[in-house]
């Protein structure tokens, strides 16, 4: 069958798009590589969603998933690896199958940016982590390092400073772009040590991470820090690589799309963290979902409707 809309990604943007598209009576298939929820699953307590003072990321996702399903959205858990555009429809290719639709909404979100050093992936779960609130508890009274200079790095260092014996905060610049209150709170902590103008250049391990090598960018000096855990907080990368042939991305890999969620390819829309935008939050992801679905519905009605009562020539 040809679906009206295929949505790639079952995070807050994708699932909100599914709700809006179903309420506009369009058939909807949501494709998801892992499981519904997306990045918000990692948040134990959401405190900034309108009219919900507290809700866990898991409860939020599950409620949203059930809402979308109840409205008739179909979910298939397969990873989309490409899109083809032709013959007035889009074909979304997954590892196992291909699915056709009149319009596609890309709501693929983003993934943790890796440091890109040797054996980083091998040490995931063995001393390397990308989520302080998820894994911090394993480092009670231990020595950890946080890499990064943005808000996440600062929040992670603060969170870990309440659990760990010692926290190094390693930043490639000499000042922070992040929130000032957080930085000041960190400075006031006895167990936090700042290491500026430096990069982590080597991971040292036996069975699990035991130390890191840190290189100073200015004088080239190298020092070894003995640590139990390394928390990487150097930002996120949008997951758009598989669609780069068809739609325009910016230099950082985000889909070039404005508030109306239109991409460079007619009939393909982008919603959520994977597009160029000023604020990546739960509420803006949901807003994108609504917008992308509405625009997709408009596109289908204008371009794909079968003319009624057309006389045969």
């Amino acid at each position: 069958m040809v679906y009206d809309i295929i949505i790639i990604g079952a995070g807050p943007a994708g699932m909100t798009a599914a709700i809006y598209a179903r309420r506009a009576a369009k058939s909807v298939l949501v494709l998801e590589a892992l499981n519904y929820g997306g990045q918000i699953l990692n948040t134990p307590d959401i405190e900034n969603y309108p009219a919900r003072a507290h809700i866990s990321g898991y409860d939020f996702s599950t409620t949203l998933y059930e809402q979308a399903k109840e409205l008739g959205a179909q979910f298939i858990f397969e990873k989309a690896v490409g899109i083809k555009d032709g013959n007035g429809k889009k074909t979304v290719v997954t590892a196992k199958n291909s699915y056709e639709a009149k319009a596609v909404i890309l709501a693929t979100g983003s993934a943790n940016r890796k440091l890109g050093i040797i054996d980083e992936e091998k040490l995931l779960g063995k001393g390397v982590s990308y989520c302080a609130t998820c894994d911090g508890n394993f480092y009670r009274q231990k020595v950890v390092a946080v890499v990064g200079g943005g808000n996440t790095a600062i929040e992670d260092a603060l969170y870990l400073s309440n659990l760990a014996k010692k926290v190094y905060l390693i930043h490639r610049r000499d000042s922070f772009r992040g929130e000032e209150t957080g930085v000041n709170r960190l400075i006031a902590k006895d167990n936090v040590e700042f290491i500026f103008n430096s990069n982590v250049t080597r991971l040292i391990y036996d069975k699990r991470l035991s130390a890191i090598e840190v290189t100073n960018k200015i004088d080239g000096s190298v020092k070894t820090l003995e640590i139990n855990g390394l928390f990487v907080a150097v930002g996120r990368v949008p997951e758009n690589q598989n669609f780069a042939e068809l739609i325009k991305l910016n230099d950082a890999g985000y889909v070039q799309a404005g508030e109306d969620c239109h991409t460079s390819c007619a009939g393909i829309f982008a919603a959520g963290d994977n597009r160029t935008k000023a604020l990546r939050q739960l509420v803006t992801a949901a807003a994108d979902g609504a917008m992308a679905a509405t625009e997709a519905v408009k596109y289908i009605n204008n371009n794909c409707a079968r003319p009624k009562n057309r006389k045969e020539d």
Binding site: A33, L34, N35, Y36, G37, I40, L41, N42, T43, P44, S56, G57, Y58, S61, F77, L124, G125, K126, G127, S129, C131, C134, D135, N137, F138, Y139, K207, R208, G229
Partner: protein, 103 residues
């Protein structure tokens, strides 16, 4: 069979001395990705008799966490004949969970 909750008291019997392979799900109530994976584990447990699946609450079981060097959850560890043979960290899809058992 359903997923069995395991503590340090019955880990030896349920996991290390098990005659069939065991998939141990190290998890916690506050871990969203763990909760998200649980229905997949329930389904796998209910629909096969080649291996069993057990769950360990990491907040209650410090000793098991220490012993098996769990440092990030979700963490799935496969035991065959009392020995660890495979491990998967992070949220992974159902097919990949089943694949952990095959290797």
């Amino acid at each position: 069979m359903a997923v069995i909750e395991v503590t340090k008291e019955n880990f030896e019997k349920e996991v290390l001395q098990s005659e069939i392979p065991v998939l141990v799900d190290f998890n916690a109530g506050w871990c969203g990705p763990c909760k998200s994976m649980r229905p997949m584990l329930d389904e796998l447990a209910d629909n096969n008799n080649k291996y069993k699946i057990v769950a360990v609450d990491i907040d209650e079981e410090d000793e098991l966490v220490e012993e098996y060097e769990v440092a990030s959850i979700p963490c799935l560890v496969v035991f065959k004949n009392g020995k660890e043979t495979n491990r998967g960290v992070g949220l992974i899809p159902k097919d990949s969970i089943a694949a952990l058992m095959e290797d």
